[in-house]
Symmetry: C2
Subunit: 218 residues, 2 copies
C-alpha cells in the first residue's frame, strides 16, 4: 500500500474511528455501528474499503459471527514545510538489526569545514540532515515492529477473551503504578473491568498490591 | 492543527498535488490549475481549505498577482498495527537541544531481568520501547526543523527568482556528483533549466565541473 492510498483511507473520520476501535479489540459490524452511532450500511462500506486495501481482515467465530481486526503493521510519515511536502509509508523494518547493538547512535554534528564557501557548506549540511532523517525513520520502523511483537507475546501470556485487556493493563502499569481509578483512565476502560483485570493479574503473581496502589513486583 | 484536521486535508489527492507543487515554489491559481488540469474554481476551493487550516498563505506581488506558499512546518506520524492506531502531529522541536551533543544515543537494549516472571518482563520491555519511540520522534522533529532552517539559509545565498532552484540543485549535488541529465532527473526540472543553474553556481565558485560531471569542490 502506498502513502496516497493510505492517506485516502485515513482522510475519513469514521474510518479512523473504526480503526481506533479495532486496535482495542476485534469487533463485528453491529458492535461498531452501535459504538460509533453510524448506520450498519455505512460501517460495512468503510470495512469493505479497508479490507480491499488489506488494512483490515475478518474471521468467523464459533457462533458464526464475523469479527474484523487490523491486519497490517505499517507506519506513515508526512513532512510539511515551505520547502517540502513528503509522504512516506513503510512496513516495520526487521532488516534493521539494532537488536545486536545497545545504542542507536546517530551523528547530529552536521557542520562542515570543506573549502567551498558558505553555500557549499550549507548544501553538505542539508545532505547530512537528510541522511539523519532516513536513519531515524529506519529506527522508528524497527521500534514499531518490536512493539507489535512484544504486545503479541504479552497477549499470549493470558488465556481467554480478556487477554488483550490484561496486556493493556499490564503495560500501563509498567509505565507507573496507580490506583484502579488512575489505571481505568489510562487504559480507557471502566473501573469495574480494570479492577477485575488487576485482581486476575495479582492472582497469577504478575503484579502486586500496595495499599490502594497496584504495581509491578520490584 | 491536530492530526484529525490534517488527515482530513491530506485525504484528497488534488490537495496533496497542490502542496507538492507549492513545496517547489510559490504559485498563483491559474498556474496550479493548468499544471494539475483542475478547474480554477476547484483549485480556489482547495486553497481556501488549506488557508483556513493555516497550512497555506498568500502574498501579492508587484504585478498584483496572488502567490500561494506553504506556511507551516509540521510532521505527522501514523502507526497502524493489530494493537495500535495512533496518529501524532507535531511542530518542529527546537526545544530538543541535540545541537550540543554530537550523537543522539538511544538505548535499544530493552530486555530486562526483574523478578516478576515473563509477563512482567514483557510489560517492562513494552514500556521501554514506547519511551524509545517518543525519543526518536523528538529527534525527528528536531531534524525536520533544522532541514527547513538550512534550506532557508541556502536559498538566501542567491538572489533573484531562481534562488529556490539553485538551492535544490546544490543540495542534490551534495548527495553525489552527476551530469546535467542525472541532476535534471533528481531535481525534477528540465535539463535546460538545470544546465543554466549549474552554470551560475559554477560562476559563483560554489561548484566545479569535471568533464561531463558537476560536483562540489573538494
Amino acid at each position: 500500500m502506498d502513502s496516497a492510498e493510505l492517506l485516502d483511507l485515513l482522510g475519513n473520520a469514521n474510518r479512523r474511528r473504526i480503526l481506533q476501535l479495532l486496535a482495542h479489540k476485534p469487533c463485528y459490524v453491529t458492535e461498531i455501528s452501535e459504538y460509533l452511532s453510524v448506520s450498519p450500511k455505512a460501517v460495512i462500506d468503510h470495512l469493505e474499503k479497508l479490507e480491499r486495501a488489506g488494512l483490515v481482515e475478518s474471521r468467523v467465530d464459533d457462533q458464526r459471527r464475523k469479527y474484523f481486526h487490523i491486519a497490517r503493521n505499517l507506519r506513515l510519515e508526512v513532512n510539511v514545510s515551505p520547502y517540502e511536502f513528503g509522504t512516506k509509508s513503510a512496513y516495520p523494518a526487521s532488516a534493521v538489526d539494532v537488536t545486536t547493538c545497545r545504542y542507536v547512535s546517530i551523528e547530529t554534528d552536521v557542520t562542515d569545514d570543506s573549502g567551498g564557501g558558505e553555500a557549499t557548506d550549507l548544501a553538505v549540511q542539508l545532505n547530512r540532515l537528510q541522511d539523519l532523517e532516513t536513519e531515524l525513520s529506519m529506527a522508528q520502523r524497527w521500534v514499531h515492529g518490536r512493539l507489535t511483537e512484544v504486545m503479541e507475546e504479552l497477549t499470549e501470556q493470558f488465556e481467554g477473551e480478556d487477554s488483550r485487556l490484561l496486556g493493556d493493563v499490564l503495560s500501563t502499569l509498567a509505565a507507573g503504578s496507580g490506583t484502579v481509578e488512575d489505571l481505568s483512565r489510562r487504559v480507557e476502560a471502566p473501573p469495574e473491568v480494570v479492577g477485575e483485570a488487576l485482581q486476575r493479574l495479582a492472582e497469577e503473581g504478575v503484579i502486586v498490591r500496595d495499599g490502594q496502589e497496584w504495581r509491578l513486583p520490584e
